[in-house]
């Protein structure tokens, strides 16, 4: 099975390029069995949301 080091790298790359079918399959098998990497994948999405929020600067910085 794929290692967590490889799975995390793919979870990051997934944010930047479409994964191949083979990569998707292997990553899917890994994350199905590995809650830590599943969580890591969610965090990659959160980082993106946070970054977009940061640029928008919404009302966040006003609330002091």
């Amino acid at each position: 099975m794929m290692k967590c080091t490889e799975a995390t790298q793919l979870l990051s790359e997934k944010m930047d390029r479409p994964l191949s079918n083979k990569e998707k399959l292997n990553l899917g098998i890994h994350t199905a069995m590995c809650p830590a990497c599943r969580q890591f994948g969610k965090h990659m999405l959160s980082l993106r949301e946070i970054s977009q929020q940061y640029v928008k600067q919404n009302d966040a910085s006003e609330k002091g």
Binding site: M44, Q57, E62
Partner: protein, 208 residues
């Protein structure tokens, strides 16, 4: 507290520009954002000035600080993309990277076992829903600190990708890096940012 309250009240159009504390603060944030992207003070200053000027010309649109801020940052972001597209940049990437990649090895060793699995105590934890956390001023300070802690090249590429939302090909083209180099750098930047946020924000929140 009174200051926080008065700062969030509505302003008459144009009045925002006379709030020197707010304007100076905003200018500093914009400059910092621009500098991280273009790495040249003169060019960064110019971009910030231009964005401020456009805001001033559209003065009647803003009666809240947040509205003005969102707007100037959007302008600034477009200016930075233009600048980056125009100039192909040659950074001494290999020198910058050497120290960073050595630290990365150490980080990977700390996070993962020899067999390439997560160390038990390093396994990513569930984060609270962003809605709650993103409102916090404190959170953004920590996010800033974590971003600053990244090696310069990492934060630059990360910001191009996530803040300016450029696609990988465009970044590679501009920065003269290979796709695999970019992917590795983005991975390491995210790995570090994630770690930093978890240690300094999400875990700490849970503990209180």
């Amino acid at each position: 507290m009174t200051q926080a309250l008065s700062r969030s009240t509505e302003h008459l159009p144009g009045q925002l520009f006379h709030d020197t504390v707010f304007m100076e603060d905003l200018r500093r944030q914009m400059l910092k954002f621009a500098m991280l992207q273009v790495r040249n003070e003169v060019i960064a200053e110019d971009a910030v000035q231009d964005a401020m000027l456009s805001a001033y010309q559209n003065i009647e649109r803003f009666n809240r600080q947040a509205a003005l801020k969102t707007w100037v940052f959007a302008i600034l972001k477009n200016k930075l993309i233009d600048i980056l597209r125009k100039e192909k940049r040659y950074t001494s990437a290999s020198i910058l990277e050497e120290g960073a990649s050595r630290n990365d090895e150490a980080l990977l060793d700390e996070l993962f076992t020899e067999k390439g699995h997560w160390q038990k105590e390093q396994r990513p934890q569930k984060w609270d829903e962003p809605d709650h956390d993103l409102e916090s001023h404190h959170f953004w300070r920590i996010f800033d600190t974590c971003l600053d802690a990244l090696p310069a090249k990492y934060s630059r590429l990360f910001m191009m990708r996530e803040f300016l939302e450029l696609d990988s090909n465009e970044i590679c083209d501009n920065e003269e890096v290979s796709v695999s180099n970019l992917n590795t750098t983005l991975f390491r930047a995210r790995l570090r940012l994630r770690e930093c946020l978890e240690d300094n924000w999400f875990e700490r929140e849970k503990a209180t």
